[in-house]
Amino acid sequence: MATYGNGRRVAVVAGVRTPFARAGTALRNLSAIELGKLCVAELIQRTGLDGTEVDALVFGTVVPSVLAPNIAREVSLLPVLPKGVQAVTVSRACASANQAITDAADQIALGHASVVIAGGAESLSNVPILHSRGFADALVAASRAKRLGGRAKALSRIRPKDLVPITPAIAEPSTGETMGQSAEKMAKINHISREEQDQLALRSHRLASAGTKDGRLTAEIAPAYVPPKYETVLTSDNGIRDDTSLDQLSALKPVFDRRYGSVTAGNASPLTDGGAAVLLMSDERARALGYTPLGFIRSYAYAALDPGEQLLQAPVLAAPVALKRAGLSLRDIDLIEMHEAFAAQVLSNLRGFESREWAARAGFSEPVGDVDRARLNVMGGSIAIGHPFGATGARITTTLLNELGRRGGQFGLMTVCAAGGMGFAMVVERQ
């Protein structure tokens, strides 16, 4: 029996996302806020929802805009929504959208809200560039100076080296390792071969391409008519390569370890722009408003481990907890979505699911089990579709429930790894 919700079941009524575009391409001129607004506006249009029904909006983003850090509030100020909508911005690295969804679900379970929009967006084409410390200090001193002379003096302190901007790198502050380096490490520790990773990447592209062609994957995409000229219309994820081959993938050079490495640009998820949102309601409100939900949240769990150990392995610790809270085992799960940050990470997670040691660390006597590959990422994953950090969690939720519906399945499991050594798992059910 489902334990989550204290008797108030949380329904996932619908999900809509923008097409995901490689950073620097079709969506590069849109900020994360604009991407968020696009998918939320279309979510409301498609579901025929009256904007005044929405109680709250929770949004996640990983790289916030310095000028407008409160993405959730800005998105909630869409004119179709009432100004009284509660809004909160959350962050749990690549699981930010999941955090948004579980926070929203918690509010519904507590009875604080009945209709909440949750999701996330990311624009990696628009990453803030930081000034060096020396330059920043000089600018602040200049703005405080009361006279022209003072200003000139402050600015004269700038040295050439101060003019070099700081580009944010995706490195763990506590370890100094970039995510790619961590994935590389995990590949070695878990004996994941180069070929296995390339096979997974190939699979991701092939299945995503099939899902795009037959319309299953694109059903949840709101075509992006890109402002301000609207000449570019993006209707599907533009990173999917339906013509890639094992030969092409194996020709790529490893990026994070030139000598012994196996992680390449081809078997890792690309930097991507996009937004995704889901509409959550209490079961009661969904029925009152005449909606048939896509499904319900049965359970979820977060986990964490030392980022210096195996940065992206935490889903292995979260999954058994979520399954236990759901009162289910892996055998009961009809469809599984695992976020593909790196092929090496997915394969490491799968090994971890089968391992007694990892089960024990999570406090279980039996391992999660052997994942049936035929039920895993059946329309590809983040490697092909793309990974806007703050949006992926919402995309995976929507994709999982939609496909579960098409196959007549009942239970679905999703896992997401996140920087900082964190992980997430959620079990959904259709009825």
Partner: protein, 729 residues
């Protein structure tokens, strides 16, 4: 501010409360939505002035309004209708001068605390005050709109305004009647100060006190004194240049058909040349003349007609309350569809714009944004508002998001089969009470509705192009259309800012139907060998903004051809198109959109001169005939007017009022003539019938006078009363 006031007997408009020697006067006309200077208000004002002239205990005065968004909206227009002679009007103006003269000469300083609309006589009163302080709010606007009613300001505005804000700024306001917002008012020196609305009263009182104490000087202008002002406003030579240029501009724009702006220039010039006293007398005299002028009568009629239409729910009796329109679907993202979206989104309507493929939807969205960008450039909205409005318009190529739609407006290709198909498809995905409105310009609504499973929800909403600019909306009611659908669509049209007339279903409805014989006649003149530009020039001289041949090029020759065919089928040979049009269409010319029509067009679509090669296609070839302009006007205009009367006779039109407003706002019938039915009244029905019979020949019965005209002529009756309220109400 609660007034612990000395209230005069009930039903008084002015309430005065004295606080520490400062008299705070609140103007709040009982039972009226806005403040106007009606007779009773002026009388109370005179009594107040008596008191202020004598009472030493009052050291300063603040005049404020008790109405939420209006300070004073001007004169009482109903009172204006009582005027029968020029001298009556002149006397009224001189009374106003005297009253405001007393106000201006008071030793006690008067501060105007202005929040909301300050128009016409209201602005003139404010100009007579020692100090003007206004709220920095969107509703606070200033204007002298008299010229739009064929008048000039009659209470000293032509004299006080230029002396305060300079000649150029004053002429800009007086000659156009445009609204000036609070910030601009401060910039040009019209007001001394802008403050937040919440502290308006307090600061006004403080200023009154300071003026009384002498710590604030009563001074003249604060306006910008840039080089332009010094050169042109502050000296006689500069002013002469400005006045001359303004005169040329006005004459070119109005083609001598509107006397009011010229009179305004004369009166302003007199004031500078001979002093304010003479200027005021000239103002009163010309105000008097204009008040009883034909042009003013017609413009005042149009004002009343539009006001009456605003209150008309669109259904003759027992109007059911209109349903809300919160979500709108527009089928067809072309020029019309995008235009409708661009006025619907700023109203807060959630819009779904559908078309056949993504490229078309993208173009539609770009067109919507272009309209909003224009408004941004004119500072009519902010960038944030623009982004908000765009977020309300969602594009789609399928029927997703149709489940909660209140109104569907169909603006697809002008083809019955296509329209019926989208009607059927849409009915399957919308609610049972969703309204389906067609923007067709030629196909009868009842015909489209034959494909409907709920014809009572089908109606016509005929917008005019370009939608953001053209004020008219024809709502077309078919026999089965329900009253609730009519009132809903009429109310929504008004919410979109349109002037709405309701007409009954018939080919061409009203506006396009009366356009047909007018354009045909122009074509027939071409058939006879009249020069293209001669025809157009004659009708522009008559008062149309563009001539019929230019209009043909604008509308599209192919569209005009198709529409002509429908008219002939419906109404017979009376509306048979000319040879000229048929041949030009057959030759493949489409007009401005194809850059090849009767006129030449450059790459940007700008119109050049007549395309002389067209004459080779026309019946008389290179041979030209000269027909007097007056005859060209008579033939084209009477053809239109006759058809308009037929529309009333056949009950397509519900009233002459609707016909006049429809013609003026939909197809450019000269406003200074009031409209086709006003025109008949001006000429006299008998004279019109005789003229038509004169034009009518056995060869073509197209000028046979409408039966209703013959009756009016015989009984010597008019469409409108000769005196009193122009609508006869």
């Amino acid at each position: 501010m609660t007034a612990t006031a000395i209230r005069a007997p009930a039903a008084s408009a002015l309430t005065t409360e004295v606080r520490d020697g400062i008299a705070v006067v609140t103007l709040d006309v009982p039972g009226a939505p806005v403040n106007t200077f009606a007779r009773s208000v002026r009388e109370e004002f005179a009594v107040l002035l008596d008191r202020l002239e004598r009472d030493d205990a009052i050291r300063g005065v603040v005049i404020r309004s008790g109405k939420p968004d209006v300070w004073v909206a001007g004169a009482d227009i109903e009172e204006f209708l009582e005027i029968e002679t020029a001298s009556q009007a002149e006397a009224m103006s001189r009374d106003g001068h005297s009253l405001l003269g007393r106000l201006e000469k008071l030793t006690t300083p008067v501060v105007a605390a202005i929040h909301g609309a300050c128009l016409g006589g209201g602005l003139e009163a404010a100009l007579a005050c020692a100090y003007r302080i206004a709220s920095d709010a969107p509703k606070t606007v200033f204007a002298l709109p008299e010229v739009q009613l064929g008048l000039i300001p009659g209470a000293g505005g032509t004299q006080r305004l230029p002396r305060l804000v300079g000649l150029q700024a004053a002429l800009d306001m007086i000659l156009t009647g445009k609204n000036v917002r609070a910030r601009k008012a401060l910039q040009i020196g019209l007001v001394h100060e802008l403050v937040h609305p919440a502290i308006l009263d307090d600061i006004a009182i403080a200023r009154a006190r300071a003026l009384a104490d002498g710590t604030l000087r009563r001074d003249g202008t604060r306006r910008s004194h840039g080089a332009k002002e010094i050169l042109l406003d502050d000296n006689r030579v500069g002013r002469a240049v400005v006045l001359r240029q303004a005169r040329e501009c006005v004459v070119a724009r109005t083609r001598g058909q509107y006397p009011a702006p010229i009179a305004a220039l004369d009166v302003v010039a007199t004031g500078y040349a001979q002093g304010m006293e003479r200027g005021l007398r000239a103002e009163a005299r010309l105000f008097g003349e204009l008040a009883v002028s034909e042009v003013s009568r017609q413009l005042v009629f149009l004002f009343f007609a539009v006001s009456a239409l605003k209150k008309d729910p669109g259904v003759p009796q027992l109007a059911p309350p209109p349903l809300p329109v919160r979500k709108l679907v527009i089928l067809g993202a072309g020029f019309m569809g995008a235009g409708i979206a661009s006025i619907a989104a700023p109203q807060g309507t959630l819009v779904r714009l559908k078309d056949a493929d993504h490229a078309r939807v993208g173009k539609g969205l770009a067109a919507v944004r272009e309209v909003l960008n224009d408004r941004l450039a004119k500072k009519q909205l902010t960038r944030l508002e623009l982004e908000d409005y765009m977020s309300l318009v969602g594009g789609t190529i399928d029927y997703s998001g149709f489940a909660n739609v209140d109104l569907v407006i169909e603006a697809v290709f002008e083809d019955l089969a296509v329209k019926q198909r989208v009607l059927r498809e849409t009915e399957q995905v919308t609610r049972s009470n969703t309204i389906f409105a067609s923007n067709t310009s030629t196909i009868p609504i009842a015909t489209i509705a034959e494909a409907s499973s709920r014809p009572e929800r089908v109606i016509g909403m005929h917008f005019f192009s370009p939608v953001p600019k053209m004020p008219l909306l024809e709502v077309i009611v078919a026999p089965k259309t329900s009253a609730e659908v009519t009132t809903t669509v009429v109310a929504y049209g008004k919410a979109l800012g349109k002037t709405v007339i309701v007409v009954n279903d018939s080919p061409g409805f009203y506006a396009n139907r009366i356009l047909a014989p007018y354009i045909n006649e122009a074509g027939l003149l071409l058939d006879e060998g009249v020069a293209i530009d001669a025809v157009d020039r004659a009708l522009v001289d008559f008062g149309f903004p563009v001539g019929p041949i230019t209009l043909l090029d604008e509308v599209g020759l192919d569209i005009a051809g198709k529409s002509g065919a429908i008219m002939v089928e419906a109404f017979g040979s009376r509306l048979a198109p000319s040879q000229s049009l048929q041949r030009v269409v057959a030759a493949g010319r489409t007009g401005r959109k194809g850059k090849k029509g009767f006129y030449r067009y450059d790459d940007k679509g700008k119109k050049g001169g007549v395309d002389l090669s067209v004459y080779e296609l026309l019946p008389t070839g290179a041979q030209r005939t000269e027909v007097p302009a007056e005859e060209i006007q008579r033939r084209c205009v009477l053809a239109m007017v006759n058809e308009a009367v037929r529309c009333l006779q056949e009950n397509i039109l519900r009233s002459p009022r609707d016909g006049d407003v429809g013609a003026v706002f939909g197809i450019g019938f000269p406003p200074f003539r009031g409209g086709p039915f006003r025109y008949v009244d001006t000429l006299g029905a008998e004279r019109v019938v005789r003229a038509l019979e004169g034009l009518n020949t056995d060869r073509s019965p197209r000028f046979a006078p409408a039966q209703l005209l013959i009756e009016k002529a015989r009984e010597n009756r008019r469409f409108y009363p000769e005196r009193g309220h122009p609508l006869g109400g």
